[in-house]
């Protein structure tokens, strides 16, 4: 579609370039509906180049297949912190997600009235984590009894209310 627009503009700018029109710059629906390649003289001449300097610019555009572990730095101005906990000393462990972020999420539903805090990727003894988390959260929330659900099969913990920052603080303090 759009190459044709460029083509029309080229013709308008240079009305004598019918040669350009004659060149088959059509885009067919599929490989099977397109006509077979014809006489090479009717197609524009091109050169094949293999320049490593130019190829570097193409490689820039490739998407990385996975996110590599961030290299250690002196400071992180954005406030992101890497995981510093020693897995050998843990009975329970909260993995970082693929983006190396903390797996604490907020689910909002019922037109914003229902807010659930979800902590995912809890490995190891999830009940020990629950026993540590519950009194700490209730203390931080001034003694309010919170509804906390432990989902052992899916390795998740669900907390009623918006306690995302509190849970992040809890995990950060322990190096997760």
């Amino acid at each position: 579609m759009l190459p044709v627009r460029g083509l029309i503009r080229a013709v308008k700018q240079n009305p004598n370039s019918l040669k350009y029109l004659q060149l088959n710059l059509l885009r067919h629906g599929s490989y099977f509906t397109s006509k077979p390649v014809g006489d090479p003289s009717k197609y524009t001449d091109y050169e094949i180049t293999q320049n490593p300097e130019e190829w570097k610019y193409v490689e820039r555009l490739f998407v990385k297949p996975r996110i590599p572990t961030p290299k250690p730095k002196d400071s992180y101005p954005s406030g992101w912190t890497p995981q510093t906990v020693d897995p050998e000393k843990c009975t329970w462990f909260v993995h970082r997600n693929k983006a190396h972020m903390m797996p604490v999420y907020l689910d909002i539903s019922e037109r914003g009235m229902r807010r659930l805090t979800k902590i995912k990727k809890v490995d190891g003894d999830i009940w020990a984590f629950y026993k540590e988390l519950k009194p700490w959260l209730e203390m931080v929330n001034r003694g309010k009894i919170l509804g906390i659900k432990v989902n052992e099969v899916q390795q998740e913990i669900l907390i009623h209310g918006d306690h995302v920052n509190q849970c992040r603080r809890f995990l950060l303090d322990r190096g997760f």
Binding site: Y20, E47, T49, R60, F62, D125
Partner: protein, 295 residues
């Protein structure tokens, strides 16, 4: 091996004591929704929840909005131009400086190269859909106080404090326009290369945008470079920081790398066909084509 139960260890112990799991002893999890079957007889059958007589049972319900004859609400008001010319309005989904700094901290974006829309889309973090009138990145000032990276960034819309924040750290910022066709190409370059088409020329901005992109205050890509240097100096005075000297920076070449107004990718000219499978570039030899693409 310690006593700490690791991933799957407890389940391994349980499974070793239990019978072999096969096709014959699988069950779904509790609470999975079941397909509802039509009720028959006393089990949801008979009138099937439609009640007695009336339009409900007779499947002759009035159409939504119908007000039994009088002019309905949805037809009372003739003109409600809430979306007037909405198809002509450009949208720039925001990307905050905080997000950008987080991307740099977690090594998801390379600071040693110029950052443009293609680089941001390649991280997978930025949600950008050219098909619904998105025209590029709007760099917002959230996280401006903690922005400490030195970058050469090219966005489509930004504000004055953001420009100051980037230039204060020794970086450079440019605002550039891309037409929708170029945006699709930038979002997924590999998919474009698969088509086997020549890289097209980028189009110039429309009438209502050209003033923005020719203004040095916005660091527009069509603005006079001398005026841009002057504006850099003025902004530094306004926000009270000493403007770092670009010329003395070891990354001077990278920081001043700019695209031609007709160029979509850094280093790749319009008219070229990229074969990324065989790692070759096909360039046209015809003079007319070359002239056309160089315009």
């Amino acid at each position: 091996m310690g006593l700490k139960p690791k991933m799957g260890d407890l389940t391994v112990q349980m499974l070793r004591a239990l019978p072999r799991i096969g096709l014959y002893n699988l069950k779904p999890i509790l609470g999975m929704p079941k397909l509802s079957k039509r009720g028959r007889g006393q089990h949801g059958g008979d009138k099937h929840g439609c009640g007695n007589k009336g339009s409900g049972q007779r499947q002759n319900i009035m159409r939504p909005g119908y007000e039994t004859g009088n002019q309905p609400f949805y037809l009372l008001f003739g003109n409600e131009p809430y979306y007037y010319r909405h198809h002509l309005r450009r949208q720039y989904p925001p990307l905050s400086l905080l997000q950008l700094q987080t991307l740099i901290d977690t090594d998801r974006i390379d600071v040693d190269r110029p950052i443009d829309l293609a680089a941001i889309c390649a991280t997978g973090v930025y949600r950008f859909f050219p098909n619904i009138k998105h025209f590029g990145i709007n760099l917002t000032d959230e996280g401006i106080d903690n922005f400490k990276a030195k970058v050469n960034i090219e966005v489509q819309w930004t504000s004055e404090p953001v420009i100051a924040a980037i230039e204060r750290n020794g970086g450079t910022i440019t605002t550039a326009y891309y037409d929708p066709h170029s945006l699709f190409i930038l979002k997924d370059p590999l998919k474009f290369f698969e088509r086997g088409e020549a890289i097209p020329r980028r189009m110039i901005p429309p009438q209502d945008a050209i003033m923005f992109y020719t203004d040095a205050k916005n660091r527009g890509y069509l603005a006079d470079p001398e005026k841009i240097s002057w504006e850099r100096f003025v902004l530094a005075q306004k926000y009270g920081y000493t403007l770092p000297k670009l010329e003395e920076d070891p990354d001077y070449e990278m920081l001043t790398e700019r695209k031609d107004p007709r160029q979509i990718f850094y280093g790749l000219e319009p008219g070229w066909v990229i074969n990324h499978h065989e790692k070759v570039i096909l360039k046209p030899k015809d003079n007319e084509l070359r002239e056309y693409y160089q315009q």
